[in-house]
Each structure stands twice: as C-alpha cells, then as structure tokens.
Symmetry: C2
C-alpha cells in the first residue's frame, strides 16, 4: 500500500425529504446565492421546494449554468456575488452546477490576477465563500469532493482545479430528485461513476486488497443497478443505490493508498473542449481503447477486473482481458452510450491535435506518467 492522506469534511444528508433540512444547515444571517442550471429544477418542483425550505433566509439566485460550466458564465455570477456581498453559495443541480459553484466560491475573493489562473496556473486561493449543495444527478461525485472542472469558450479549454477549501459544507442527496432525469443523463451518470472507479482501480497492484474490493463493490453495484433504472426510473432504491455509488466513486475513499490513472479523463476533457460531447460520452469511447492500448502495463489489474467484476474465470490471461474489454463495451452500449467516436461523426482529423494540446500543458498521462503525444494519438486511433 502507498502512503496517503485522506480528509473529507462534507456533511452528507441522504434520503427522501431531506430538502427540508436546508433551513437548519444554513445560518439565517447568511446572504445566499442559489445557483442552478438550465431550469429543469423548475419543471420538477425542486426549485419551489428549496425556496420554501429557505423562505425565512435571504437568497438571490443565478440560473443558466450549462453542462461543462463556462468561465464566461460563471464570472457573471462572481460579479453578482461581489456586488451583493454573498456569504453562502447554494448549488442546486448536477455536477456541472456544483463544479461551477466551486469556481465561483474560489473566484469571489481572488484578487491576484485573472480568475482563470485558478485553473490554468493552479493559482493559490486565499479565501473562499462556503458552499452547500442539493445534488440532482448522480455522476460526478462533486458533492463529496473538492475538485471542479471548468471550461472556457474563448480558448476551447477544459481544466481541473482541486482545493480543500471548496469542499461543500453539506450536500443533500435526495434520490427522488433524480426520478425525472432523462434516460440519457441517467446513463451518462452511470458511465461517469464507472470510469471514476476504473481510473483509481485499473492501474497496477500495490497489495491493497480492501481498496480493490471497495472499488469492485461500486463497479458490481453499478452493473447490477444500472440496467434496472432505465426500466424503472422511479424505483427509489435503485435511484438511491446509484446515487450513493456515484458519491463513493469519487469521494477519495477508494483512492487511499493506491496509484491513480486519469488518462481517460484528461483525453476526454480535450474531446469535450473541441467537440462539445458530454463528459461521459467521451469516457465510454476512450476507456475501452485505453484498456486495449495499456493492456500489457495494466495486465494484472485487467485480469483481476475480468475475474472479480465480470466473473470471467476461464481461459488464459489474454483472453480474459479481451473478454473484460468486450464486457465493458457491452455494458456501456446496453445503457445506450456509444463506444466509438464514429457514432458522433468524429474522425482522426480533429482528434490528431489532442496529443499536442496535452503536451503543450506539460502533462504526461497515466499512473506511470508516460503517456505522451504519440501514445495519445495511438489511443485515439482505437476510438474511431
């Protein structure tokens, strides 16, 4: 096992009816800015429930945060927060709204340079505004971590920052808020959580059997519950199980003491920045290609994945890995998520630039930090 530190102070409030606890979770003295996305919370009644729970609080609102939240949009919220002396940010929506809100929280008091430096230069943050969240889409794990992924239109970039100061003070997870999600978003969320786990699991063994089993626990549960939700979107237990899987997939617990990869994510971010695909759509294409390209370096964990997640116990190692990759593709496809960029009309012409884009940021990807421009192009060639 590798040395590690683990710190996660988010107060998780999980279950049906928990929205009503909002009034006790935020001080009556706070000046709240409620942030949200494209308005689905107005259609499903959540907007009204939040307003009702906080009717005695002072609250302004900022809607219109888009999927892959944009720096340009978020800076409008930062301006409002500065003018109105906002002391608490309440994110009501999915991971994009919450990621955007984390950026707003970090940017409000940022005074040394352009706020984009928080992403592009990992500029230090001195003071943040506290955040609470009501999460409506099980996917990113943002509700229980301190990371955020932000895009900027002007430079077609999608970058990550992580800072313990932007852990939400609390996150409310009410599975009933996810009943009305479109099938596509539900499926994307399952893929997202699945690939969060593989990024922390499909590397190389370090004799950490508990963490391996905890990672497999999430994968097995996603595989078991995922198909159920497409048929029964209002099954409370299935929604609850998927929601808790997504949180556990990226709250740092399964990363304790093990190597991490994240190459699939880093390449996926570039594809989204260039083509606007949903995050999970990029992951579903790149992960199988990554497994194929890295099958030798990842062989031990790929065999373990084949055996413990997919129950493939016959045949030699090579065939086990082949079967595990096929099973992964089959699972994503069964959720309606394509596994080739061809399905989006994307070929190598545009993808060829991605290796250089990542190289220009000085990044070498993967758990061995050795996936560079050449390898990225090879991986992308397996994606089309």
């Amino acid at each position: 096992m590798l040395n590690f530190t683990y710190f996660n102070p988010v107060n998780i409030v999980f279950g049906k009816g928990q929205i009503t606890s909002l009034a006790n979770l935020i001080s009556a003295d706070d000046m709240i800015l409620m942030t949200y996305g494209g308005g689905s919370i107005k259609k499903n009644g959540l907007y009204e429930r939040v307003k009702k729970a906080l009717k005695k609080h002072n609250m302004l609102e900022f809607g219109g945060i888009e999927p892959n939240p944009k720096f340009e949009t978020l800076m409008k919220a930062v301006d409002i927060a500065r003018t109105e002396k906002i002391t608490f940010l309440l994110s009501v929506g999915g991971g994009s709204v919450l990621d955007g809100t984390k950026f707003i929280a970090a940017a409000i008091h940022f005074a040394k340079g352009n706020e984009w430096d928080i992403l592009s230069k990992q500029a230090p943050i001195e003071k943040t505004v506290p955040i609470g969240s009501v999460i409506t889409l099980p996917a990113t794990g943002s509700e229980m971590n301190c990371g955020a992924v932000i895009s900027r239109n002007s430079s077609a970039e999608k970058l990550v920052f992580m800072n313990p100061q932007v852990y939400p003070k609390f996150s409310i997870l009410d599975p009933e808020t996810t009943f009305s999600l479109p099938k596509k978003q539900t499926a994307n969320g399952i893929v997202d959580a699945f690939v969060h786990v593989t990024e922390q699991y499909l590397t190389y063994p370090v004799n950490a059997p508990l963490q391996d089993r905890q990672a497999e626990a999430i994968l097995l549960t996603l595989i078991e519950e995922g198909p159920k939700v497409l048929d029964n979107p209002e099954d409370y237990d299935v929604r609850a199980n998927l929601m808790w899987c997504a949180t556990q997939a990226l709250n740092g617990n399964i990363a304790c003491g093990v190597p991490q990869d994240w190459a699939t994510h880093m390449i996926g971010h570039e594809v989204t920045a260039l083509y606007g695909l949903y995050h999970a759509q990029t992951l579903a294409v790149i992960l199988p290609a990554m497994m194929q390209h890295q099958r030798n370096r990842k062989s031990e964990k790929l065999v373990q994945y084949a055996e413990c997640v997919w129950g493939i116990t016959e045949n030699d190692q090579n065939r086990k890995i082949n079967s595990a990759i096929e099973k992964t593709i089959g699972f994503f496809n069964s959720l309606g998520v394509p596994t080739s960029f061809k399905d989006y009309g994307i070929g190598m012409d545009g993808l060829n630039s991605i290796g250089s884009r990542i190289e220009s940021r000085g990044m070498l990807l993967g758990e061995h930090h050795d996936i560079g421009k050449k390898e990225i192009t090879e991986i992308l060639e397996l994606c089309v």
Copy 2:
C-alpha cells in the same frame, strides 16, 4: 436504503514515516498534553520519535491510561489539563488511550455536574479541547470516529458516549508502529474490527447492495490477512491492510443507510465490566451465540454472509447458517481467541445478572430493539 447523515472530518495521515508530520499538524502555539498507556511506546521507540518530532512544541505528558480506560485515571489527566491550561491533546497508543483522551477532551471544560454524567446521562458537552492521535493498535476505529467507551471502577460500569466534537483533528496511522504488538493484541484487534462490521451488516436487508459489498470487503480482507500477520508480524503490507480495515470498519461509512445491531457489544461491555476480559475476548464468545439465537430474525443476512463471505453456496439455508457460524468460530479460534466463556472459567452464576444490568439502563438491544433481559440470558447460556 434508509435515510442517513454522514460526517467525518478526521484528517487521516497513513503510512511509514508519517510521525514526522506531527510538527506540521499541531500549532506551535499549542500547549500539548501527550497521553499514552502502559509504556509499550517507550519500549518500541515511538515515544522518542514523537518527542523528537515535537521538540519545538510545548508538551506535557500523562501516561498510564489502561485498557478499558478508567474514569478514575482519566480524571487525573483532566485535573492536569485544567491546571496547565492544555489546548491540545495528543493521544499516542491504541483505542483505549484514544477513547480515554476523547473523554478528557470532553471533561476539561465540563462544568454542569459530575463528569461521569457525560457517560451515564449523555450530558451535553459545550466545549472540547482538540485531539490528535497516533494510533498503534488496529482495532477500535477510534482514530476515525467520534465515540469512546469508558469504564468506572467504583460502579463496575462500562459505558459509551458519542459526540462530533471529539472527532480527532488528525490521526496518524503508521503500520510500522504495530510490528511489535504482542500476538494476543493483534488477534484481539482483528476480532474487534470483524465484529464492528457484523454489527452493521448482520441485521436485515434494506436493499443497500453497495454497503453490503463494502462490509463484505472488510470481512474478506480480515479473513485473508489475519492469519498472515500471526506468522509474519513485520510484513508491512499485511499490517497496513489490517490497519486500514480496522479504520474502515468503524468510521461510519458502512453504516450509511443500513440498520445497526450492537447487541453483541452491549452485552460484551457488561462482561468486561464484571470480569475484566478484553473487549475482543467478549465479542468472540458472544457473536456466534448471537448468530445462533437470532438466526431466524437475521436469516436473510446470515445466508448472504455464508455465501458472500465464506463462499458457502451448497445446501439449504439452515445448513448454510450453521456452516457460517462454524466458520466464524473457526476463524476466531485460528487467531487464538476462545469462543466460550468456559475458557475463562466464567459460568452462568455471574453472567445471570447481565440481563438485569442492561434492563436497568432502560435499553432494549438489537436492530429491532427487542432483545431484553430474557433474551440476553438465553444468549449468554449459549456462551458457556
């Protein structure tokens, strides 16, 4: 899945050499009281390493906290802390030292009545002194929870209190500090962690497959790694895996959204209070008896336990449960921990009073809150 809240702000610092980070984890302005037990940390060099790491800090010390830490002993530390205006408590030792330190932290500023009320009346705590810990015995999970179990000689009582204010600010877990543990303590720690998991797992199903798999992950790892450590006490990875299992067994994660039992613990506390047995010794005897007595009410989870933890897939449900109980007894015995009170020369004469003792506290035990005096006696009859 049941509704739940989960909050755990402990900063875990895990791995070899992490003791040196102490200097950065405690403010130089603090007046520290270092607490420890019977002096094993002086024999294995840890005492000197802690002193060296904190050589620029102001630190007093209080040794002699015993297993099943005693109110009478701890109040001496409280007196010192009050006199010396201690602002930080550093626990260096196992779960008993840390539990005792949590009580000291809660008692220092306690002014409304006798400090024992914190245990006996669950009296509210207004202000605590912050705690850090260096944990040296994987067992209780105290390093990542806010509970403590304290005994009082004068009344032969052993009681629990839990309060979010006594979460350690940090816990350092260096597996190397456990190399020199006596076999008996190592084995007791494994049993303790094992039974912590069963208390949160062997109840009744609520459709929470992720939590079930996470619980099974800990049990399977304890079963796998436990025997190894007895043969190779200085195998770093085995020690690390057991240490992380013990923490994960009682940090609240596997309790999320599921029923909890704790009857085995409550009865075990009484046996320790009356006879002075180690905590784990009582658990190893009572758990199999509890499984036997509650086999109908717990049947679904006992069958799942048989199948998923012990790989018992043949035979009918009844035989599966029998085999699972036998396997549990065999595992404890293989660690050298007896599974009958007869092995300690204890018969029903003294144990007969336990039902009344628990009844007198107004407690009904188990996940259904229906195990009273009569059932407790029946369970204890299966223990001798």
